[in-house]
């Protein structure tokens, strides 16, 4: 009487989680110090100070309001980093329901921040506060997939949960091969994979697992293909830009374009998890491009999907934190340094490494055809690496370098030994 498909999803977990668990066992055996766990994209940086300061201030304000009410009171507390004024929120407001799409003023603050940052025109009434980016993807798939023939295109290598969200909402996950030189999409394959059943395309830049950033040229090419196909089939084909790493770009020559400028039928899926190192707080937003066809219906379908999945509202306290911390980020120079140390060391050893533009992942060619086999061998050297088969392509592995510098440096000798093992085989 238990749903077998769903049970399977619970049993298998993700391959990445599985590796994480294996890493734990190694750590118990050899000690935390001696194991190099590069499996999980769990931000290692402290959140910007403004986050906890804002929570403290919200609590202070609510204490005053609880005791003295909202009338005839001036709140003399200011945001740490910007001029967003503290509202008169009691502790009942601070932890109370917001509307399902999120607090009005919070959505307005996000809209204004984005408009100022990217020179675009948005609509707060098309912003929906999310319990994290994963929620947003599951919701968007539910909103866009209507029947079992519907197809969603992803660009390999891709975050494995995309497939889970697509398939559990009844659609087909269609993977486009990469151009192995750039790790941009292979555009010939992309064109071939689009058909009358294509409902949307998920773009993820800065990319998990490659660290590659799609620049304007790539985005323009993707959009031009899609516009042509929209005309051909007479249907909208939505772009979902999944951007939890939007601000994590280290390559000065690269920047990730704001998708609404290039393509009308677009949805942005954003999370504060990585940019502010708050992954456990599950706070983000999804936003429908005001120029999208049937933008309002699309937004309402997002609201409907959130409702069906039991998302009543995003956590209220963290909603209220957001306007005060917009523009604050963790100190990414740590990730940048890690990526450079590893990139330089691994290429010097002889590994073929995709240049790390952003996010906190390094994507490296395995030294045998099967990334899984390679990843298992790496365990002998206490290196926990995710094989690229998890991301839909063969023969690579991913390093999540969001760990301490010390770990990074110590791991290099292990990577060398692993390399030597394969070269001397």
């Amino acid at each position: 009487m238990i749903n077998e498909k769903i049970l399977h999803l619970g049993k298998e977990r993700s391959a990445i989680r599985e590796l994480f668990e294996q890493g734990k066992i190694l750590k118990e055996k050899y000690g935390e110090e001696s194991v190099f766990d590069f499996s999980i994209g769990n931000p290692s940086l402290l959140p910007p100070k403004a986050v906890n300061e804002t929570i403290e201030n919200l609590l202070k304000v609510s204490k005053i309001i609880d005791a003295r009410g909202k009338n005839n009171i001036d709140i003399e507390i200011y945001s740490p980093n910007n001029d967003y004024k503290y509202r008169k929120l009691s502790s009942n407001d601070l932890h109370g329901y917001t509307s399902a799409q999120g607090d009005n003023e919070v959505r307005d603050a996000i809209k204004k921040h984005l408009e100022k940052s990217y020179g675009v025109e948005l609509d707060k009434d098309l912003i929906y506060m999310l319990v994290g980016a994963a929620a947003g993807l599951s919701i968007a798939m539910n909103a866009l997939i209507s029947n079992k023939d519907d197809e969603v295109i992803v660009f390999a290598p891709f975050f494995p949960e995309y497939r889970v969200f697509i398939e559990s909402n009844g659609g087909k996950c269609i993977s486009v091969s990469p151009d192995y030189k750039t790790f941009y999409p292979d555009f010939d394959d992309f064109e071939k994979k689009i058909n009358k059943n294509t409902v949307c395309v998920i773009i993820n830049s800065p990319n998990n697992p490659t660290g590659v950033v799609y620049d304007e040229e790539v985005i323009k090419k993707i959009c031009s293909v899609l516009k042509k196909k929209e005309k051909e089939y007479g249907n909208p084909i939505y772009i979902i830009s999944d951007e939890p790493y939007r601000e994590l770009i280290y390559n000065d020559k690269k920047s990730y374009p704001f998708i609404t400028k290039y393509y009308d039928n677009s949805i942005i899926n954003y999370s504060f998890s990585k940019s502010m190192s708050l992954p456990g707080e599950r706070i983000g937003y999804t936003m429908v491009n005001p120029k999208a066809q049937d933008a309002s219906d699309l937004y309402l379908a997002i609201c409907g999907a959130g409702r069906a999945k039991g998302y009543v509202c995003a956590g209220t306290l963290f909603q209220f934190v957001i306007p005060h911390v917009l523009g604050s980020y963790s100190d990414f120079s740590v990730y940048k340094r890690n990526s450079q140390i590893l990139y330089d060391a691994l290429t010097k050893i002889g590994y073929e490494v995709v240049y790390p533009d952003g996010a906190f992942y390094l994507f490296v060619k395995a030294l045998c055809e099967d990334g899984k086999e390679f990843s298992e061998k790496a365990m002998d050297y206490n290196l926990i690496l995710v094989p690229s088969e998890s991301f839909g392509i063969k023969g690579y592995f991913r390093i999540a370098y969001c760990v301490g510098k010390d770990k990074i440096e110590k791991s290099i000798e292990k990577f060398r030994q692993l390399y030597d093992f394969y070269k001397n085989k």
Copy 2:
């Protein structure tokens, strides 16, 4: 290209939300003071002080750990209300991912609290931290419903979102009539509605919308019917006990039994929203009875459903708050007083009112056959009442009395005028 069913869910919202919006319009027209909005079950009480104190303490501890690391440090801060020791959590831990099922120690603290409170034996590895009770219901429906013939039984009148969660996960919502004297289930109808396709029954006590509490006798009767039917069909029929109002009981003669003592194939769905007035923080748990058939698979299916819906983990900060505040509640005497004032006044006027055992709802017989018509007429008197048709039965209305005492008292004259209108009609 938009999912029409899901769009519909987004468009219609719930009838209750709709009323809430109409209430807003009335408030703009006549002033906040003159409108009696009894539509929404939004806790009006302050959260227990221990909640914000705990957040403050967690922030204090994390500040120390961020600056000085975790070694050779004693944390000399104690929980406000219980002896749960503060852990050495950096701000990175405090806002970081937990495992999908929730932090281990948090689940252990909940298990111990429940074992002590109810004299039961539980298993922390069958507890899954929830982003609120609605999430838990949507997840449970996904875990239990496998095909389109599967049926889920609810007892009318019932929380309208039950239907949404059942149907959006592919099942049929089967409503059992109430015994109109007690507002317990009509047991004859209950027996008749169970068949080989019945996968589970949702129980909600203290009840929304009636305020009725199912005592031991009722629970035993429900369980005995189900045990008989489980044998007859050779299948487990699960009970899902949806208990966001577990502690909100005012009638000293009533208490809500702990379901795992009475029925093996049971799941408890709990939220801290109402007991601690934290509805916006979306924190709760679901728990599989260790004695349930295939308990471990059922739990894994819950994990799988959570994964498919994009619930990565429950908000970490609030997970860490929970162990320090278990056993703290808002001051329910306010709700109890409201319920008594309204019950006494309305019965005195001549209304037929279901006796309010708990939750924060009063269920009253409308003065015409159609609750909707009555609710619309009530608007003329600035009374916002939810018609029972929203809850699956005809001719009643619900008052959510989680509002200020002042509002309650002022509303009585309006209820009298409404009564007179119908009597003089």
